[in-house]
C-alpha cells in the first residue's frame, strides 16, 4: 500500500485560534486556511482583525490553537519571517529616516540581493519615488501608509499582511493600490488585507473573511455574501418635499413593502433594491416631486454583521 501523502501545507493555516487579554476575548476560536490570491478580512473596529494579524506574524501568541504561515510559526522561525511583508495598522514609523532609508533598511535586514534597486522599485510601486529624500516624519497619513506598503513589499514576500492599508489614501491612490494588490495576488502571493469599509472590501477581493466580536462570522466569495445580504429587505431614507405622494406611488407600484413618514423624510423598506434604484428618479419626475436625498440606512457594516451573526 502506498504511504498516505502528507496533508497540503497552506500558505496561511489558522486552527482554533483564540486570544484573550485578561478577561477580554479578542479572537475566539477562529479557523481558516488561505493560499495564493487576495483575501479581504472584513470587520468593524475592535472586531479582532489586528490581533489576528499580529498572531499571523508572530507578534503575539495565540492563547489557544495554532497559527502557521507557510507551515511555520513566525514567532520562532527566523526564515519564515523573511517571507512575510507586514503593513501594520499603527501609524508609527522611524520618523527621522527618509522614505528611502526606511524602505532600504527593510530591504537590507531582509537580505535582499540588490537593496538599492529593490528600494527604488518598491517606492515607485507606491508612487513615492519623487519624495525619497524626505523624512517620513513630515509625510501625510496617505504617504505614511504608502511608505509602510513599500517596506512590506521590498523583499518580494510570499505572504503580505496589510492592516487597513487604504485608510488615508485618496481615491486615485486607492485604485492604484487595489490594482497592485490584485497584481500581487495573481503572481501567486497570499495577500490578506483588512478593512472595515464594505465597499472597499468589494473592490479588494472576491475572497472575504468576516470577523465580528472576535469570531469568524462568515467566509467565502464576496458575491455570495452580498447576494445573501440582498435577500434581506433594504431600509432607505428619502428626503423629499412630498413624502406622502411619493410613498403612495412606490407602494402602488409594489416597489416597496413598507413606509414610514417623518416630516419630509420617507423611510421605506424594499426587497427589490434594483427596481427601486431604477425607478425612484423617473417616478419622482413623473409626480413632479423633488428628491433631495436618498440614503441607505442599512448598508453599513454593522448591518452586515447583524445579519450574518444574528440573522436579522
Amino acid at each position: 500500500m502506498a504511504p498516505k501523502p502528507p496533508p497540503p501545507v497552506h500558505m496561511i493555516d489558522v486552527s482554533g485560534a483564540s486570544k484573550t487579554f485578561g478577561n477580554v476575548v479578542a479572537v475566539s476560536d477562529v479557523s481558516f486556511t488561505l493560499d495564493a490570491g487576495v483575501t479581504a478580512l472584513l470587520g468593524p473596529n475592535g472586531a479582532g482583525k489586528s490581533t489576528l494579524f499580529r498572531m499571523l506574524c508572530g507578534l503575539t501568541t495565540p492563547s489557544v490553537g495554532t497559527v502557521k504561515v507557510l507551515g511555520r510559526d513566525a514567532r520562532n522561525d527566523t526564515p519564515v519571517r523573511g517571507k512575510i511583508g507586514l503593513s501594520p495598522q499603527q501609524d508609527a514609523l522611524f520618523d527621522r529616516l527618509t522614505a528611502y532609508e526606511f524602505v532600504e533598511i527593510a530591504a537590507r535586514t531582509h537580505g535582499v540581493a540588490n537593496p538599492d534597486s529593490a528600494t527604488t522599485h518598491a517606492l515607485s510601486l507606491v508612487d513615492l519615488d519623487s519624495v525619497t529624500d524626505k523624512a517620513v516624519g513630515s509625510f501625510s497619513k496617505g504617504m505614511r501608509q504608502r511608505v509602510k506598503l513599500a517596506a512590506a513589499l521590498v523583499n518580494d514576500p510570499q505572504i503580505l499582511i496589510l492592516d487597513e492599508p487604504l485608510s488615508g489614501l485618496d481615491p486615485v491612490q486607492r485604485n492604484r493600490m487595489i490594482q497592485l494588490f490584485h497584481d500581487l495576488g495573481s503572481q501567486g502571493k497570499c495577500v490578506l488585507i483588512s478593512s472595515h469599509i464594505l465597499d472597499e472590501v468589494a473592490r479588494i477581493g472576491s475572497q472575504v473573511l468576516v470577523i465580528a466580536q472576535g469570531r469568524l462570522a462568515a467566509s467565502g466569495d464576496y458575491r455570495d455574501l452580498r447576494t445573501l445580504m440582498e435577500d434581506q429587505p433594504h431600509v432607505i431614507q428619502i428626503t423629499t418635499n412630498q413624502p406622502r405622494k411619493l410613498g403612495a406611488a412606490l407602494l402602488e407600484q409594489e416597489i416597496i413593502e413598507g413606509v414610514t413618514i417623518e416630516q419630509e423624510k420617507l423611510n421605506i423598506t424594499t426587497s427589490r433594491i434594483d427596481s427601486f434604484e431604477r425607478s425612484i428618479a423617473p417616478i419622482a419626475k413623473s409626480l413632479n416631486v423633488s428628491l433631495n436625498e436618498v440614503i441607505p440606512l442599512d448598508d453599513d457594516l454593522e448591518s452586515v454583521f447583524r445579519y450574518l451573526i444574528e440573522g436579522k
Binding site: 499580529r54 506574524c57 508572530g58 507578534l59 503575539t60 501568541t61 513566525a74 527566523t78 526564515p79 519571517r81 523573511g82 512575510i84 507586514l86 501594520p88 499603527q90 501609524d91 508609527a92 514609523l93 522611524f94 520618523d95 527621522r96 529616516l97 532609508e101 533598511i105 527593510a106 537590507r108 535586514t109 531582509h110 537580505g111 535582499v112 540581493a113 517596506a151 523583499n155 518580494d156
Partner: protein, 243 residues
C-alpha cells in the same frame, strides 16, 4: 534572498536606532549637564590642597555616580523602550534577524551617543582638576567601562518597565546611592561600586567604601553586567508581545 550576518544586522539596527535617539532636545539638555562637571572640575582643581584625592572623589561621585548613569539611562532605556512604546519595534522585530542582534544594535547605539556625552566632559574636568595624568587616564577608562555597563543594564530596563527613566533614577539615587552604601550585598549589585573601585585602584587613592572589589574583579563584573544586560534584553524580545 539570503539572511544577513549577525554583524550586518547589528550595524543596521544600530544605524536606525542611532538616528531615532539623536534628538536636538536630548543633545542640548545633556550638553548643558555636561558643562557642570567641567566647571566643578575647574573650581575644585583651583581650590583643593590635595587635588588627587579631591579629583578622584569628584570623578567618582559626580561623574561615575551621577552623570554617566543618567546619560546612559536616557539613551539606553529609550533605544528599545521608545520603539516598544510608539509601535516601531515591529519594523525590527519582524525582520529575519536574531533578537540578539537587535538588542546588541540598540546597546551599541546608546553607547555611541552616551560615550562622547560623558567621557569628553569627564576627561576635560579631570584635566582641569590638575591631579596628574593617572587621574585623566583612569577617568577615561572608567567612564567608558561604566557607560558600556550601564547601557547594557538600561536597554533591558526599557523593555521591562513602563517608565524606565523613573525606575532608572530610582536605581541610581536610591539603590546605588543609599541602599548600596549600607548593605554590602546591595553594593555588589551596583555598577557604581565597580567603576569607583577601578578609578581608586588605578590612582591609588583610598576611600572608606563598604564594598571594595579589586580592579580586575571590577572590570570583569562590568563586562558581565554588559553581556547579561544584552542577553536579558534579547530574551525579553523573544517573549515580548509586540504592539
Amino acid at each position: 534572498m539570503s539572511t544577513i550576518t549577525p554583524l550586518q544586522a547589528i550595524r543596521l539596527t544600530h544605524s536606525v536606532l542611532l538616528k531615532q535617539l539623536i534628538t536636538k532636545g536630548r543633545l542640548i539638555g545633556i550638553a548643558i549637564v555636561g558643562v557642570l562637571p567641567i566647571l566643578l572640575g575647574w573650581v575644585i582643581g583651583a581650590q583643593s590642597n590635595d587635588p588627587l584625592e579631591a579629583g578622584v572623589g569628584f570623578v567618582s561621585y559626580m561623574g561615575l555616580s551621577i552623570l554617566v548613569p543618567i546619560v546612559a539611562l536616557i539613551f539606553a532605556s529609550a533605544s528599545l523602550g521608545d520603539t516598544r512604546e510608539d509601535g516601531t519595534l515591529v519594523y525590527l522585530w519582524l525582520r529575519p534577524i536574531s533578537r540578539l542582534s537587535v538588542s546588541t544594535g540598540a546597546w551599541a547605539a546608546s553607547v555611541t551617543i552616551a560615550l562622547p556625552l560623558t567621557v569628553i566632559p569627564m576627561t576635560v574636568s579631570a584635566l582641569l582638576l590638575d591631579a596628574g595624568n593617572s587621574v585623566v587616564t583612569a577617568t577615561m577608562i572608567t567612564s567608558i567601562l561604566a557607560v558600556v555597563a550601564y547601557s547594557g543594564l538600561f536597554v533591558t530596563l526599557g523593555l521591562i518597565v513602563k517608565n524606565p527613566v523613573l525606575w532608572g533614577l530610582a536605581y541610581i539615587f536610591i539603590w546605588e546611592a543609599i541602599v548600596a552604601s549600607f548593605a554590602k550585598p546591595a553594593a555588589a549589585l551596583a555598577v557604581s561600586g565597580y567603576s569607583r573601585a577601578i578609578i581608586t585602584g588605578r590612582t591609588n587613592v583610598e576611600f572608606d567604601y563598604l564594598f571594595d572589589p579589586s580592579q580586575s574583579v571590577s572590570v570583569l563584573m562590568l563586562i558581565i553586567i554588559t553581556i547579561a544586560g544584552i542577553a536579558f534584553s534579547s530574551a525579553r524580545l523573544n517573549r515580548l508581545e509586540v504592539p
